[in-house]
C-alpha cells in the first residue's frame, strides 16, 4: 500500500526536522523558517494558479488538478530518462505537454460536462474526479506504484548558504519560476488581446459571442494555460520530491484551500494565499509534530472564511 510507504516517509521527514529545526529559536532559525516557508509558499501559489485561472474563467473546479501535477512530474521523469537532459532545460517541454493535456481535457471531457442541463455542478465535479482516477490508474500502469526520484540533477540536493540560512536550490529555483509565471500571467491578462478576451469571458461567457469572441477557443486556451502552469510547478517539484501515482492528492487539497483562501477566481489572491499558507505551514511544523503541520493551514482557512466567507480577495 502506498499509504504505508507514505507514512514511513513522513516519519523520516519528522526525524530530519528534529535534527535540524528544533534548536533554540535564534534569529537565524526564525529567518530560516520564514524563508523556507516563503519559498514553499511560492510553489504552492504556482500549483494553485492554474486552478484559480480555470475557476475564474468558467466557474469549474478541476478535481483532477492534483493528478495534473502528478502527470507533469512523471512527464519530467520520463523525459529525463529518455533524453538524459537536465530538468531545468526540459521545463518548457513539460509545460507545453501539459498545455496540450489541459486543452484535450477541456475538449474531451469538460466541454461535455458543461452541457449538462441538470446537476451541472455535480457533473463537473464527478467528471473531473473520474478523470483523476483514470490518470492515477494510467500512472500505475506505465510507471508502477513505486516511488521514483530524478537523481543527479544540477539543482537537486544542493543548498545555498546565505549567512547561516540554508536555502535548497530547487526551492529557490521554484520560487523564481513562480514569480516569473505570475508576472507573465499578469502581462498576459493586462496587455494582450487574449487577456482581454479572457477577462470578457470571465465577465459574461454568454455575451462574448456577440462581440465575436469564440468562447470555446478561450476556454480551450484557458485550460491549456491552467495545466501549463501546473506543468511548471510539477517540473520544479520533480527535482526535489518523490514521484508516485498518489503524489497529487495532498498538494491538490493545499491548492483548493489556497484558492479558496485567496478567494475563488482571484489569481493574485492565490499568490498571496499561497505565500501565507507556506509561512503558516513552516511555522506549524516547528511548533507541532511534522505530521500535524497541515493543521495550521486548516485552522487558518476556517478562521479566514468565517470572517470573510469569500476568502481574502474574493469578490464574486
Amino acid at each position: 500500500m502506498p499509504c504505508r510507504e507514505h507514512r514511513l516517509l513522513r516519519l523520516r521527514v519528522k526525524g530530519l526536522a528534529q535534527d535540524n529545526g528544533l534548536k533554540t529559536m535564534t534569529f537565524q532559525a526564525l529567518a530560516q523558517i520564514v524563508v523556507s516557508g516563503l519559498l514553499m509558499g511560492l510553489i504552492y501559489a504556482l500549483i494553485a494558479a492554474g486552478l484559480s485561472l480555470i475557476f475564474g474563467l468558467m466557474d469549474v473546479v478541476n478535481f483532477a488538478h492534483g493528478e495534473f501535477l502528478m502527470m507533469a512530474m512523471y512527464a519530467m521523469f520520463g523525459l529525463v530518462l529518455a533524453l538524459a537532459v537536465d530538468p531545468v532545460l526540459l521545463m518548457p517541454i513539460v509545460a507545453g505537454l501539459m498545455f496540450a493535456l489541459g486543452a484535450i481535457v477541456y475538449l474531451g471531457v469538460v466541454r461535455h460536462a458543461m452541457r449538462a442541463k441538470v446537476n451541472a455542478g455535480m457533473v463537473q465535479v464527478f467528471a473531473t474526479f473520474g478523470l483523476a482516477i483514470v490518470l492515477r490508474g494510467l500512472a500505475q500502469l506505465f510507471f508502477t506504484p513505486d516511488f521514483r526520484s530524478i537523481p543527479n540533477t544540477w539543482l537537486g540536493g544542493k543548498t545555498l548558504n546565505l549567512g547561516g540560512i540554508f536555502l535548497p536550490w530547487p526551492q529557490l529555483f521554484g520560487g523564481a519560476v513562480s514569480i516569473a509565471a505570475f508576472v507573465g500571467l499578469y502581462l498576459l491578462i493586462s496587455r494582450t488581446d487574449f487577456g482581454r478576451a479572457l477577462a470578457a469571458t470571465r465577465e459574461d461567457a454568454g455575451a462574448v459571442a456577440l462581440v465575436g469572441i469564440d468562447r470555446n477557443k478561450v476556454f480551450t486556451i484557458g485550460w491549456g494555460l491552467g495545466a501549463g502552469l501546473v506543468g511548471l510547478a510539477g517540473s520544479v517539484m520533480a527535482i526535489f520530491f518523490y514521484i508516485h501515482p498518489d503524489v497529487g492528492g495532498p498538494f491538490a487539497l493545499t491548492a483548493y484551500v489556497t484558492v479558496a483562501l485567496g478567494g475563488f477566481g482571484s489569481i493574485f489572491g492565490a499568490l498571496a494565499a499561497g505565500v501565507i499558507i507556506g509561512l503558516i505551514e513552516a511555522i506549524t511544523a516547528t511548533i507541532l509534530p511534522t505530521e500535524m503541520k497541515s493543521l495550521g493551514i486548516y485552522a487558518a482557512y476556517l478562521a479566514v472564511v468565517f470572517v470573510r466567507p469569500r476568502g481574502l480577495f474574493g469578490n464574486i
Binding site: C3, R7, F55, V61, V109, H112, A113, A116, K117, V118, N119, A120, G121, M122, V123, V125, F126, A127, F129, G130, L131, A132, I133, V134, L135, R136, G137, L138, A139, Q140, L141, T144, P145, A205, G206, P245, G249, L253, Y256, V257, A260, F264, P289, E291, M292, S294, L295, Y298, A299, Y301, L302, V305, F306, P309, R310, G311
Partner: protein
Amino acid sequence: MSTQSIGIAAGLAQANDRFHAARRRQLMTLVVVVLVISVLPLLVKDVYLQNIMVLTLMYTALSQSWNILGGYCGQISLGHAIYFGIGAYTSTLLFTKFGVSPWFGMAAGGGIAALVALVLGYPFFRLKGHYFTIATIVVAEAALVLFLSWPYAGGALGIQLPAAADNWANLQFGRNKLPFIYTALALATITWLVTWKIEDSRWGYWWRAVKDNPEAAESLGVVIFNSKMAAAALSAFFVAVGGSFYAQFVAYIDPDSVLNFHFSLLFALPAVLGGIGTLWGPALGAIILIPLTEFTRSYAGGSGQGIDLIIYGALIMLIALWKPEGLIGFFVRQPKPLPASADEGAHS
C-alpha cells in the same frame, strides 16, 4: 381563502390520488426489493460475494444518509468521513474501554455526530458553494490528523476490537457474514424509510426549496439556516450509525480506515451516479458502484497495474457525462425543459 373555490376540481383530485398511489407503489417496491435481498444470501453462500453484499447495503445506507443533506438540501459535503469516523470510534471506544454494547455505542455515536454537525453547521452554513465544500473537506482532514496523534484512541495504530462472544448483543459473529448482511439491510431499509417519510413532509419540501432557490424559499417563510441544520444533523446521525456498523464488521479501525477522504467520496458517489436527491438513486448507485469497485480490485487490481482504477474512473466519468441526472433517469420520466428556459439554466 376564497368563496369561489370551495372544492377542488376533479382534475386536481385525480392528480392527488395518483400522487398517493405512486407513494404506495414506492413502498411496495421496497417490500419486494427487501424480500429478494433477504433470500439472496441463502442462495449465494460464497463468502467473497456475501462480503460484497454487506458493503453494498452499507454504502446504500450511507449514501442515502449523505443524500439527505447533499441531495435534498443541496449542501455538497465532501467531509462526511468525519461522522463515519465519529460513529466507528464512539462505539469501539465505548466497547473496548467500558464494555458498553455496540448497539448503545451506535446510538451514542449517532447522537455525538449529530451534535458535531450542528456545532460545525453553525459557522459552515454561512459559506456558499465551493467555500462550503472545501470547509467540509478541511475539517474532516483535520479530524484525521488529530486522531492519528490521539493516543487514547490508539493513534496511528488504531484499535482492534477484542473478540467477545459471537452474538447479536455484541454484534460479533466471527466468520459468519449472514447477520451482517441482515443488519446492513435493516440499516439501508431504515434510511430509505426515513427518506421516504421526509419526501412528503414539511422538511422535505423546505430542503428542496432551499436547494433550488434560497431567496425564493426565504420569501415563503423558510428559515434557511434551520433547514440546513436539521438536514445536517439527520444526515450525520445515520452516517455515524453506519460507521459503528462498519467498525463491528471489520473489527479493526485506524484513522486511515475510517476517516480517509476516500470515504467522504464513497458516500457521495452512489447518490450522484444513481440520481442525486432521489429516493432510489443511492441504492441504484451503490448496487452498481460497490460490486464494480470490488470486482475490478480483485480481478484487475491484484497486479498493481492500475487497470482497476482506469475502469472505475472511466465509468464514473462516463455516467456523469452521459446521464447527468443519474442512472435513475432510465426508470423515470425525463423533464424536458423548454428551449427558452434551458438557455436560462445554462447560465445559472
